[in-house]
Symmetry: C2
Subunit: 462 residues, 2 copies
């Protein structure tokens, strides 16, 4: 606000209080939303958006940007046919992870973030664990690779919450594998120090679009006391706390061997489950564990396309929604950046499984909320809703797209068309912090970033 220029956007429809509504306008002042109200009441300069529906920018709560390089290459047979699973995929991912320089990370993140913007994603939680040199030595600046990601976000304009991950071991009593060395800070103390230090430096930089969060990688990769210390740091810094939880049955068995209980039970007994905690995946959880998450106010981040790609399995979405659990969504390995279709797929998968229809409570509306307000909660960012005081992160979809034709006169049908039919292909314009970054599908530097990324992919996979 602070005297910033006001601009009022006047779309045909606006997502407001959980549904599309007509007759509304939104006034932006600097990087914030100043007012939402009837279009006829709006003062100041107006930008008409005929044929557009405006929604909050989508929030991608779980990204490993470097894995964008795996797209296509990790989804096909190489050589003779053999059984493949999460762990064979992980070997491919580890080899890729060990090969990338800080400059490579900049290149891949610039393209991945631009592709996200073009798909309507205005904020991303980057769960980052490629910290050190491939042999585990530190770079001259121990945050070298974090700066690559932050630079990429600044270059393309996306909002970034850098969730710095801590990783110390291959499993209980198992030393790091050679390909895991660059993930590790070496000790619990170093994890906490480096994480806290990065958060302080990010805060000192006062870039309104970059924030820091804390990410104990998993109970496999960390002893419980490390998770507790990182949770304490997160509380001290008032930062989000994200962790991979219960993605694979083998991981649960490993935790059970070490702790005599499941990951969520261990986390509950450590006091880690709070409203700032987000369990990523939570694919293999019990009803009692969902109850514990719900009563603690903790969140769950689902990555539906990745959970299919990696053969993780399907999350119990109806059970989570019935308990009022706060859900967010992530693109994780980036097999697709289409967060709208991934949201819709949660309902469609349940229809296949239950052989019934309209199975998720408040779907598709609750699913669009997960992709917007739910993500904002998960990253503790004041975006995700078109409301005064929130960040001016917005997306316009093209109501003249052939896939959306016929939604009238029901705004609910438009929500269904976006999530079940068109997905992000209808996104035409994107604003982050009030800045109009994607205009009529175009982003100023997209071609240059794509070109550099394609060259990198060619080098990596040749």
């Amino acid at each position: 606000m602070n005297g910033a220029a006001h601009i009022t956007l006047v779309p045909d429809l606006m997502w407001h209080r959980g549904e599309f509504r007509t007759g509304l306008a939104v006034t932006l002042a600097g990087d914030r939303i100043a007012a939402v109200g009837p279009r006829d009441d709006a003062a100041g300069p107006r930008t008409l958006l005929p044929g557009k529906a405006l929604l909050p920018g989508l929030v991608n709560a779980h990204s490993h940007s470097f894995q964008r390089l795996l797209r296509g290459h990790a989804q096909v047979q190489r050589g003779e046919l053999k059984r493949s699973d999460f762990f064979s995929w992980r070997e491919t991912m580890y080899r890729l992870a060990a090969s990338l320089t800080p400059d490579d990370l900049l290149v891949v993140a610039r393209h991945a973030f631009t592709e996200m913007l073009s798909s309507g994603i205005t904020a991303v939680g980057e769960f980052h664990y490629l910290h050190h040199c491939p042999d585990g030595q530190r770079y001259a600046d121990p945050h070298e690779t974090s700066w690559s990601l932050i630079q990429a976000a600044k270059d393309v304009g996306i909002r970034l919450c850098l969730l710095r991950a801590s990783y110390l071991r291959a499993g209980a009593g198992k030393p790091l594998q050679p390909l895991q060395r660059r993930f590790s800070d070496g000790s619990v103390e170093a994890c906490v120090t480096l994480t806290t230090d990065l958060a302080a430096r990010v805060a000192a930089a006062s870039d309104g679009r970059v924030t820091a969060g804390i990410a104990p990688h998993s109970l496999r990769a960390l002893p419980a006391e490390a998770v507790v210390q990182l949770a304490v740091a997160a509380q001290r810094l008032d930062a989000p706390l994200h962790m991979h939880v219960a993605e694979q049955p083998a991981e649960i068995e490993e935790v059970r061997s070490e702790h005599g209980n499941t990951p969520l039970a261990v986390l509950a007994s450590c006091g880690v489950l709070t409203p700032r905690f987000v369990a990523v995946h939570a694919t293999h959880v019990t009803a009692a564990e969902l109850d514990a998450m719900a009563s603690a106010g903790a969140g769950i981040c689902l990555c539906p396309a990745t959970e299919a790609d990696l053969g993780d399995g399907a999350f119990a979405t109806p059970e989570a929604l019935c308990r009022g659990l706060s859900l967010s969504l992530g693109t994780d390995d980036h097999i697709t950046m289409d967060l709208l279709r991934q949201a819709g797929d949660l309902e469609m998968r349940e229809r296949l499984r239950q052989q019934h229809r309209l199975v998720l409570p408040r779907a598709p509306h609750a699913l669009l909320d997960a992709a917007t307000a739910g993500g904002a909660s998960a990253l503790r960012l004041p975006c995700g809703r078109i409301e005064p005081g929130r960040l001016a992160d917005l997306v316009a979809v093209d109501l003249e797209h052939p896939a959306l034709a016929g939604w009238e006169p029901s705004a609910n049908a438009l929500t269904a068309c976006l999530l079940y039919s068109s997905g992000s292909a209808t996104v035409s314009d994107v604003w982050v912090a009030g800045e109009h970054l994607v205009q009529s599908r175009g982003h100023a530097t997209a071609d240059a970033h794509r070109f550099a990324f394609a060259n990198l992919a060619r080098r990596i996979w040749s």
Copy 2:
């Protein structure tokens, strides 16, 4: 050929013999492919397609075009929350079906077919059952509504196989419901006569883009002797023979009550399973039934998005592919026209179910074959492959689309990106019978058809 002008298309990559290959060009002569060979050998005028990959036009083997009106409207709760299933959806569909005039069918088909073209679909099998007036009376021309669909196809340029459906009853011993009256020709003899008559009139019209096929609706809607007579007619006319089979458990139980056996067992004993027969859905089938289909050379048409939308359940794709069954794909109720993503979803659903990766034999290549050559087989059309003598039905995808970036240097990765990541959003150009109908994403009459369709939807759902 016949002295038609030759034109040679020179893309960066071409789908040929089951994979993307570089260095090839395709020469078109009239509505056919005249030659495929090394790009340097191609004679005559050349159209360079830099940054494009060329694939055979996608074949949509199962469409009810009028159901495009249901998109969005049939996927949300209306009024209070209640359990919904295939049968409650069908009530909504029946009410819609009873309300449409022949002109309405023209309007909805023009938009649906244009949307298909823009999504890379060059041929559609229209399983058509809205034949008569809502009260069951015949129109002055008993093929009135068929002409609407044929006119729509001609107006937009898509290739059409009109699969005229026969429908006589609500079930064994159950007379037609009022909302089903317009589906029925009244008797087995009338079904055969009208079907044969339409096929003759379509053949006499000698429009190279329109053919006729025969579609006994289902064993629920027809006595077995009607199916046999229609199968005989199909053989006489050398036409495709399509039928809904085993979509819902309740349907199987009904057939079992009447015949003492499952639908596929009944069809096998009637001698209907031949290479011209295509079972649509076949969701609930046994391994023995798949064996019978395979040894008869019969095909199966899957409609993955509809089978999710309607809560049908998931087809046993791995078991079908292992048996070498000929698979094709359809958009059915048109919740999405993205046939590439629907093809890819077959693999992704199996990964979720099996909690393994790379589960379908020869995926993603076999899945792209199903969407092209498999569909061509199902409709008995000489398209679906880029080979000399085949129809010049082609699709170009934009290799500069952000979702495809990074596929190089592996053509297999490009196939995976198309099916698992980008889907049809990358389609830029479409040719049917050598005619360049979609150019840089634009179709000449798309806006007019979309506008008329939106008006119709507004009228229907107000």
